[in-house]
Amino acid sequence: MDEYRIGIDIGGTFTDFAVVGGGQVHVEKVLTTPDRPEVAVLDGLTRLNRALPNLLGAAEDVVHATTLVTNVVLEGKGAKTALITTRGFRDILEIGREVRYTVFDMFIRYPKPLVPRNLRFEVNERILSDGTIVEPLDETGLRAIAASLRDQKIEAVAICFLHAYRNPENEARAVEILREELPNVEISASHEVNPEPKEYERTSTTVVDAYVKRVVSHYLERLAKALRQRDYRNNLFIMLSNGGTATVSTAKRFPVQMLESGPAAGVEAASYFAMLANLGPILAFDMGGTTAKLCIVEDGKAARTRSFEVARVHRFIAGSGYPVTIPVYDLLEIGAGGGSIARINDLGLIEVGPASAGSVPGPACYGLGGELPTVTDADLVLGHLNADYFLGGDMKLDRMAAEAAIAAKLGTPTGLSPLAAASGIYQLVNETMAAAARIYVTEKGKAAGRLTLVSSGGAGPVHAVDLARKLGIRKVVVPPYSGVMSSLGLLTAPLAFERSRSIHQLLETVDVEQLEATFAELEADAAALLPPGATKICERSLDLRYSGQDYALEVQTSGGANLKERWKAAFLAAYEAQYGTVDDENPIELAAIRTKVRQAVVLPAISGAKAARDAAPKGRRDMYVANLGEVRLVPVYERAALRTGQKIEGPAVIEERESTTVVGDGDSVTVDSFGCLIVAVAPTVAATASAGEVEVAEA
């Protein structure tokens, strides 16, 4: 009997499934059921069961990602939540950081605090920054607050005391008392949810955690129970925002950590194919209907950050949402997708996004009433998309409508032909993504030219090669199953648990043996969560910076001699590489240590293309070739028909059900044994491209 592994990713529109077993990958897609998400899950499993009898009974594990937490916050469907703070500081949640996230908007908006002022309470207690308790917790006062919370039928309580990250004693005692007084109320305490300084961010994180806890834990319990009823006997694992995994009981304790589970799984999938194809550092690129997402992954480790925001007023503007400090993959989200709308701005120039036509009314070519030109309309006019083969032909596109929208809204005001305007949209959306990517790559201290672009999402492969060219990237990989990348990523991610500790000590004064003991302690704690027989791998790193700076650079470490010297050298090299200079005025500080304990990677077997001989083009069509700046008659291939090892010279287009890969002049594509398309991006094209742009414009 085959042993299956099942990945389930609930997104905003679709719930995706990937099942790996017996050398096969099976995928399924059903519509999400927002009110009872488990309904869609069970529906999809039932469908899969037809081809895979006894799927759940034979399943080794189920790994799950969901947008539920984000939705609960966005839609205001969380618990009636109260906040308890140190006396004098209940307004911190509303005062925030007092800054405008954009200097040029006199009508700036912020989301309302999740806890209204009348449900924010203060209690006498005080701890100083060094952890000294100068005022013990006023237990009587707290019990009086608890009584009031009971009267007001509060469902969840967040507790955030000043400096609780340094000394949790008062908060821990408050939790005990509230559990006694309010046994049926969910409680989140800041020293557990987010033990780091900066009171506003910590309070906000703790409040979001409390706010979503009940909805999330009820959902997870319902799901686990439903799976058990269908003979599933093993653990239900939840993916966290940093690609780590958690059992249901851990996820229920800190639901805020699940916020970005779906995107994290997408990154895991890209990183898996990077490992399979031995790619070195990659830039994972996903482009869907509304957004594009980018993430750097190096040696299987994705870029990480601890600052995230949920429920932004402006989706792509940092500072317009609730800050949440959790370990999360550092994804760059850009307002650029197939539905992004192109318009003429006040300067008489074409602007693309971030506004999106979404799926309703959608791009003009959908014929659903959309009249504004979008990226998808441009892709269709340029011949990148096939009007008769969108979603495998399930959805017919209207090329005339696309052209009419582009002509009316852009062509007339600028004097550009529809083709020139469409190529403008294509260039601009790619430039928007490239501009954001350059800043992102700088922040990560990397050179774009060294990365491989791994592309997914419906619109990703249409734009990936041109985006890569703009970034100086020489290789693009389009993996198979790109329509269900996240659910596949749930299975390719090794079970991993991460632990960290703040150190804040000058590097020269650090006791290396002591540090070793701390690492060992953290690793033992995390390893206990892995399956007993698993081979465990520990990945250690240090956060180093110059004393006085806020941002640290992460330096890997694996033990050995002369550690401090090597750490220092690694830090200086990384700093110099990133910033072009080093500082000789300030000493180096060890901010924190981190370790990730994971299962040794067991790659699920994914077989590649099966064709015995090279596929011939299934047809030819006129396509705008961006790096030539002109339209050419190019061959069209069916991806499923390609042979492993087959080579295709650009310009060409390769179609599949969920996407289309567009290849430029001088580029060449090879199909690898896992079914990935490997595109060698032609060099020195910048020059020809820019000459071409002028030609198009003048055409």
Binding site: R109, P116, R117
Partner: protein
């Protein structure tokens, strides 16, 4: 070369992303909170003629009108033929650069194929520049610290160590300040590298054609919006609250003329320089005078020379808004932060839907604490900033505690307590402080902290200053509401519960308790017409008291049920709004 609309947009977008990338490099390598938390800096890129083409989107409004002038001055002192690759020019001269010594400007020429194709500039508000610290008491610039003439800090990539040594010898925290100077150099380096990549990628010889498009289009865009306003000259005149220990009162007089798609802002009739550190150089006056125009009329166009061109700012030489050496300038924001409000006041009847009520914390509050702590014998220097309530507009209530017109984040209490021997006692919204109105002004806040005991030995000390607006509901220059809205309330500074002057540097003893309050924002529209349900929501949240609801809004709320008593409300409202009575 004729550029098409697509190429222009692609290249323009790229220039903005280049300066933002430079800003990223700066933030990530800087030490001072004014960079990391306040974003009190800017990075910009220029063409070879010194025209500003792009300005980092992360910045403060105070640099808007300054940056182009600084570059022009640098080029005057160091013409292109005197520059070589790897050079970097430095100054903190208030008149040539950004208006006070604590801002350091560093510019670098960008060479491509042996020619200068442009310049990059980074200005940063530093932690310390020697001299008296953070006080309005200085009578002239010589008291205020070290002035760095326009010099080459780097010559062909080689650091001029003499400049660093002079700085080291004159400032309190040289390691941090020099670290930040290096961070500025990082920013310029990033900008230079990426600009050259851009030129190579698009095979451009220079930036002139692009510069022309950027500047002309930005200029035309703002002019088109100005033309929608009725032409005419509109006036406002205010007398500022007394400046502590300064006998002179400051009167600001402005005439805003809208004509031919241009705005002329003329400060004729404004008081002369004063013997206190609040004088503005013209660059600074230009920045905060242009800001409200751009904010209201053309906020989405990226900053560049063209976006400023339709706006002309003039002021009499030697006036407090166009001061001359050796005037003291450290606290120039005491005046410059007020310009947006004064200009909104002049234009209130011309464009009522595009003005804001006063910001309750304006001019910005600023706190310096400095000393040595016993715990580790290290000296500390902690700066903080807190904000008052945002002004209401015709569309919305003002947010509580939101910064304007500058834009500085507060420093977390936990960060300040970790740096300095203080304990905060509260940071809380002040009920009823928001100016009443159809849309209510945001609430101000009260902040209280004490100097920790046990941290101070005989030779240890903590000293510092708290500066705030000194404005309230009444007085010569209250926190004004707009279009019938009430004034914001609050404001004050106390030491151990006794009122004291702000802006004065003083030494604190253990257990000294400093309390200050920042006012609420001005309201917009008539308060008695505010929906009673909205007033009730404010009462439930404790933003407005039950008494305040009746007094300011004519809404009677039952203290037991928190329901609106509609009959009593109607009766009370029939008697008319205090603001209406005042206008009548």
């Amino acid at each position: 070369m004729q550029l098409d609309p697509v190429t222009i947009q692609v290249l323009w977008q790229r220039l903005v992303s280049i300066v933002d990338e430079a800003a990223t490099g700066l933030i990530r390598t800087a030490y001072t909170p004014s960079v990391k938390e306040y974003y009190d800096f800017c990075c910009a890129v220029f063409d070879r003629n010194g025209n500003m083409l792009a300005h980092s989107t992360v910045t403060t409004a105070g640099f808007l009108g300054i940056v182009p002038e600084v570059m022009r001055n640098f080029v005057k002192f160091h013409p292109p033929e005197t520059l070589e690759p790897g050079d970097a020019i430095i100054t903190n001269d208030p008149w040539l650069a950004s208006g006070h010594l604590i801002d350091i400007s560093i510019a670098s020429p960008i060479f491509h194929r042996g020619q200068i194709v442009g310049y990059t500039l980074c200005i940063v508000h530093h932690l310390d520049m020697g001299g008296r610290m953070s006080t309005l008491e200085s009578k002239n610039i010589y008291e205020e610290g070290l002035k760095i003439p326009v010099l080459k800090l780097y010559e062909r990539g080689k650091l001029n160590k003499a400049i660093f040594e002079f700085m080291k010898a004159n400032i309190r925290v040289p390691d941090k300040v020099l670290g930040d100077v290096r961070a500025q150099f990082v920013a310029n380096h990033v900008c230079m590298r990426q600009l050259i990549n851009l030129l190579e990628e698009y095979q451009l010889e220079g930036l002139e054609d692009l510069a022309h498009e950027i500047i002309e289009r930005s200029d035309a865009s703002l002019r088109a919006k100005i033309r929608k306003l009725p032409e005419g000259t509109y006036h406002n005149e205010v007398t500022l609250p007394p400046i502590p220990q300064c006998p002179d009162r400051v009167r600001i007089k402005v005439a805003v003329t809208i004509k031919n798609g241009g705005v002329l802002i003329d400060y004729a009739g404004t008081s002369g320089e004063v013997g206190a550190a609040i004088n503005c150089v013209l660059n600074m006056t230009r920045s905060y005078s242009a800001y409200p125009i751009k904010l209201a009329l053309d906020p989405t166009v990226p900053n560049n020379d063209g976006a400023m061109r339709p706006i002309t700012v003039v002021a009499p030489v030697g006036s407090v808004v166009n001061c001359q050496p050796p005037a003291a300038t450290w606290g120039r924001t005491m005046i410059s932060h007020l310009f947006p409000e004064i200009i909104f006041g002049a234009l209130e009847d011309v464009m009522p839907e595009l003005v804001l009520g006063a910001n309750g914390g304006c001019p910005a509050n600023e706190i310096y604490l400095h000393g040595r702590r016993r715990r580790d014998g290290r000296s500390f220097l902690a700066i903080q900033q807190h904000s008052g309530g945002f002004g209401a507009s015709h569309r919305f209530d003002g947010y509580s505690t939101l910064c304007f017109p500058n834009n500085t984040r507060n420093i977390p209490i936990e960060v300040t307590e970790n740096e300095a021997p203080v304990r905060f006692l509260r940071k809380a919204l002040v009920s009823d402080s928001g100016g009443p109105g159809f849309n209510r002004g945001g609430l101000g806040q009260v902040v209280e902290f004490s100097i920790l005991d046990g941290e101070q030995g005989p030779e240890d000390f903590a000293e510092g200053s708290v500066r705030l607006s000194n404005r309230g509901e009444t007085g010569d220059f209250p926190l004004q509401g707009r279009c019938g809205g009430g004034n914001g309330r609050g404001g004050g500074l106390w030491l151990n519960d006794k009122p004291i002057d702000h802006g004065i540097y003083r030494r604190f003893k253990p257990n000294d308790r400093i309390t200050f309050q920042l006012g609420g924002g001005g309201g917009f529209g008539v308060a008695f017409k505010r929906d009673a349900g909205r007033v009730r929501d404010d009462v439930i949240a404790g933003l407005v008291s039950i008494e305040g609801a009746a007094r300011d809004y004519g809404v009677v709320i039952d203290p037991r049920t928190y329901e609106v008593n509609h009959a009593a409300t109607e009766a009370l409202r029939a008697r008319g709004c205090p603001a209406e009575r005042r206008i009548a």
